[in-house]
């Protein structure tokens, strides 16, 4: 069976991931691009006896070298030589999308255009003559509505057909002055093909990557040609070349695009929504309402399912205990029921909530609201040294810090990345959520949503304050731009969202099955040894360890060894905090809940939750931070969160105690 390499390229918001999903179905692998943490999705499909391996390139606006995403795409196209490049084009935004396609074509790729979102274009009274477009560009064009899976079959067929087609290189006429220089240089360098022409143009445009390909001596020549051309044209050459390219595309679009209702153009759907969503007065309250609503839904919808999961685990543990009682050593029974089933159960009850949380985040992202949130919050964020775009990684941080840390790659400047990543662990991730649920369920039954919301809010406020502080400490005078597209709203693609949420949740379950379970087992072991002591008592190893740390937390209201130990092991993964408490208090009459109700009071419970929220990110997050911005920042992160968490918990507890008296 013959195999082909297909690259999927296009602008952000062109529906690229929807097309990718429609093409590859469930045959997907998510990984990283070598050396960077930009997500790399690969998948495959087969048609007419050939297999097509699809690589989803990052969504970009041009093929220059000004962001990591652009570099990844450029390097892939240059060095991996894909057999076919599928360019996903948003039909409702044809000109800018085709600009990118023109670069793919100048580079000399075998391109197929997936003309996506035809429906949105029609709504806006835009009609596109795809036959004409295909004829003019001499390449296949497939009309699609990818989120309804329209045109997918056709696209597959066209990809298969064009795998053997000739390459078609676009040659844009850059005008006499430039063309003369191009001719001169192609003779000078003995580079005569159209691909070579692309390299020379790129180098003249001042793109360092392409300039470096020519070696030092020729680089100088190229630079001086750029200078003299800029003088002759009385314009910066790079600007001139981009204008020429856009000029070509503009002419092309004029021939293929017809607006049926130009004069009385209606205010479109997205615009109507934006009048409210980004309104001067409504925008911010609406944003907070959305965030609050998300947490309410996560709780109210998730809670009953969680209860069911919880009682199933309790049931299993009970049955197992009865079954084994009498003819198996008590230690082994305790290992199975308290250790494995208890620990696992304590974590898995949160799967429903976490799944819903990921659903909510991806719905916000997919629908287009996330960009509005960044728009509405940008000024506020920038007052604290952050960036409107920092918001998206930070919101992802609510799910899990690690994708959030990775998503910080969308920030162009290193300063923004560092600041965002440093404060990101303060965004309360889903792993901390079980801790809140446990305590809120015991002490704040009637205010579940609001109490948990308050913790999330405190996390956000602290993140903002710390960001401001770090900015003035480390990056005093650096400011970065905000240049962000507001994509049209559209209904979320349920398939995509469920797949994404399930993928993220399954990662959580995997983690629960490995790191967390391992951690719980270690704790169980330490709680059972040395031999002969009562399980989970002060005389166990873990009890001794806890007793050493415990005094530190006395001023915060939870100076008993079980709490200290659970926090210590929580560094492995925050879920372990609950798992540890479950294991240590498992043998308490009435179980964990009764034990906690007994040793904590509402104030120390809240103080404990504050500590869990703030102190040291989990090991996985620390290593992600190290990978992204280096071990020094990772270490700094550990230290500052530790002190901040302890400080806040202590202040809260002391102040609250005084107020109560």
């Amino acid at each position: 069976m013959s195999q082909f390499k297909v690259a999927l390229a296009g602008n952000p918001n062109s529906g690229k991931s929807t097309v990718f999903n429609a093409l590859t179905g469930s045959k997907q692998i998510v990984g990283n691009w070598a050396g960077v943490t930009v997500e790399k999705k690969t998948g495959s499909f087969s048609v007419e006896g050939s297999e097509f391996n699809v690589i989803d390139l990052p969504g970009i606006y041009s093929l220059s070298s000004y962001s990591i995403d652009e570099q990844i795409a450029r390097d892939f196209l240059l060095s991996e030589n894909p057999d076919i490049v599928v360019a996903v084009v948003d039909a409702s935004n044809l000109e800018r999308n085709l600009y990118f396609v023109s670069q793919l074509l100048e580079m000399g790729n075998r391109v197929v255009i997936a003309l996506n979102m035809i429906d949105v274009a029609l709504e806006r009274n835009i009609r596109i003559n795809s036959m004409m477009l295909s004829k003019l560009l001499k390449l296949p064009v497939v009309k699609m509505v990818a989120n309804q899976e329209h045109g997918v079959k056709k696209l597959k067929k066209v990809i298969a057909e064009s795998a053997h087609a000739d390459k078609n290189i676009l040659r844009i006429d850059y005008g006499n002055e430039v063309e003369e220089v191009l001719k001169k240089l192609s003779i000078e360098f003995d580079m005569n093909s159209l691909e070579d022409r692309f390299y020379i143009i790129r180098a003249l445009e001042g793109d360092e990557f392409f300039l470096d390909m020519f070696g030092n001596k020729n680089k100088e020549l190229l630079l001086s040609e750029t200078n003299s051309l800029s003088q002759i044209l009385d314009d910066d050459l790079d600007e001139f070349l981009i204008e020429k390219r856009y000029g070509y595309i503009h002419g092309l679009v004029k021939k293929v695009l017809h607006r049926t209702d130009d004069i009385h153009s209606k205010i479109d759907f997205s615009d109507k929504i934006d009048r409210f969503v980004t309104n001067r007065f409504l925008g911010i309250p609406l944003f907070f309402f959305v965030m609050w609503a998300v947490f309410q839904i996560v709780f109210t919808v998730g809670a009953p399912v969680s209860d069911i999961v919880g009682s199933i685990f309790d049931g299993i543990a009970g049955i197992l205990r009865n079954f084994l009682a009498g003819h198996t050593p008590e230690l082994f029974i305790s290992f199975l029921t308290d250790g494995i089933i208890g620990g696992l159960g304590a974590i898995l009850v949160f799967v429903p909530n976490i799944f819903i949380l990921f659903m909510a985040i991806s719905i916000l992202e997919d629908s287009g609201y996330m960009a509005r949130a960044a728009f509405v919050m940008d000024k506020f964020m920038s007052m604290f040294g952050l960036h409107g775009k920092s918001f998206i990684p930070m919101i992802l941080g609510f799910g899990c810090s690690i994708p959030g840390i990775m998503a910080a790659r969308t920030l162009e400047s290193r300063k923004d990345r560092i600041l965002t990543i440093l404060v990101l662990p303060l965004m309360s991730c889903s792993a901390r959520f079980p801790i809140y649920t446990l305590f809120v369920g015991i002490f704040f039954k009637n205010y579940r949503g609001s109490i948990v919301f308050s913790l999330y809010l405190i996390g956000i406020v602290l993140a903002i304050i710390m960001a401001r502080l770090f900015k003035s400490m480390f990056f005093k005078d650096e400011n970065t731009p905000l240049i962000m597209e507001l994509p049209p709203y559209h209904l979320p693609n349920w398939k995509l969202i469920t797949r994404y949420s399930w993928y993220r949740t399954s990662m959580f379950i995997k983690k629960a099955g490995t790191v967390i379970l391992g951690g719980v087992l270690v704790i169980w072991l330490l709680a059972s040894l040395p031999a002969g002591i009562e399980y989970g008592s002060e005389n166990s190893f873990i009890g001794m360890l806890g007793n050493i740390i415990a005094p530190i937390f006395k001023p915060a209201g939870f100076g008993f060894w079980q709490a200290s130990v659970s926090l210590l092991f929580g560094i492995m993964a925050k879920e372990v905090v609950v798992g540890t408490l479950g294991t240590l208090y498992g043998s308490f009459p009435g179980g964990v809940n009764a034990a906690i109700a007994n040793v904590f009071n509402p104030i120390s419970a809240y103080s404990f939750m504050l500590m869990s929220l703030i102190y040291v990110p989990c090991i996985a997050a620390i290593s992600a931070i190290k990978q992204e911005i280096g071990w020094k920042w990772a270490l700094f992160n550990v230290i500052y969160t530790l002190f901040l968490g302890w400080g806040i918990a202590v202040i809260f507890y002391q102040v609250a105690m005084i107020l109560i008296k």
């Binding site: 935004n93 000109e95 856009y246 940008d378 162009e412 905000l482 240049i483 507001l486």
Partner: protein, 240 residues
């Protein structure tokens, strides 16, 4: 023939003193260079061996024609280098002089030639003082930020009377792009997004805190901070 650095200094000093007083004496030279008269005598001896100077009676030292020629070339170097530092880079006179004393002996002929070229370029240049020099002075005096602000203003004024910054347009109005004045990275990004000369760009709405601003260009919405919108110079389109 190559002279040592100190001999070059003697040659130069003798030239300067004899230009000023008509004649140079060993005592004057030793005072001028702050060295003992015996070392002056030694130096003059070596200079006479090279046929650059003649030691006459009563401690008078006279340069030969060849000596005058070489002294002049060193002196010229000193003057030009010192001028370059003080006049164009704004280094204070004393420091410029001291640095010139060092450099006149060691400067590479090519570098020196370029400095001379630079001066002759300034002489032939159509403007009395090229813009970049004026701008450089502003840059040094006022600091980077206020200099940038001044240039932005000047650019929008000189190009076109109707030219305004994109950030100054009111909601509902629109403009035609004239020029982007921004750092390379931002400029390239904006250009790739289609913000090119002649493109129409409309102001749609402003975010709750007054920043960023939502613009419409081509068929899509783009939001920019005021900072970025200030870099885009547009001509306001008057709607009828």
């Amino acid at each position: 023939m190559e002279l040592s650095k100190s001999l070059e200094d003697y040659l130069e000093t003798i030239y300067i003193i004899s230009e000023k007083d008509g004649i140079a004496r060993v005592k004057d030279i030793s005072e001028h260079l702050n060295v003992s008269t015996s070392s002056v005598t030694n130096a003059v001896k070596s200079l006479s061996e090279s046929k650059l100077a003649v030691h006459e009676k009563y401690g008078y030292v006279k340069l030969t024609d060849e000596g005058i020629k070489q002294a002049l070339s060193i002196y010229d170097k000193h003057r030009i280098i010192s001028n370059f530092f003080s006049k164009f880079l704004g280094v204070s006179k004393n420091i410029a002089d001291n640095d010139a004393c060092e450099l006149e002996h060691s400067i590479h002929p090519e570098t020196y030639q370029k400095i001379i070229d630079f001066f002759s370029f300034l002489e032939t240049c159509p403007e009395d003082e090229p813009n970049f020099l004026k701008n450089f002075r502003i840059f040094c005096d006022k600091g980077r930020d206020s200099a940038e602000k001044m240039w932005k203003k000047r650019c929008s004024k000189s190009k076109n009377i109707n030219a305004v910054k994109l950030s100054e347009l009111k909601i509902g109005s629109s403009g035609k792009v004239l020029k982007i004045i921004a750092p390379m990275r931002i400029r390239k990004h904006l250009l790739a997004l289609g913000i090119i000369k002649g493109e129409k760009i409309g102001v749609i709405r402003v975010a709750p805190f007054g920043d960023p601003i939502d613009y419409k260009i081509k068929d899509y919405h783009l939001s920019l901070r005021k900072n970025e919108a200030e870099c885009i110079i547009v001509e306001e389109i008057k709607e009828n």
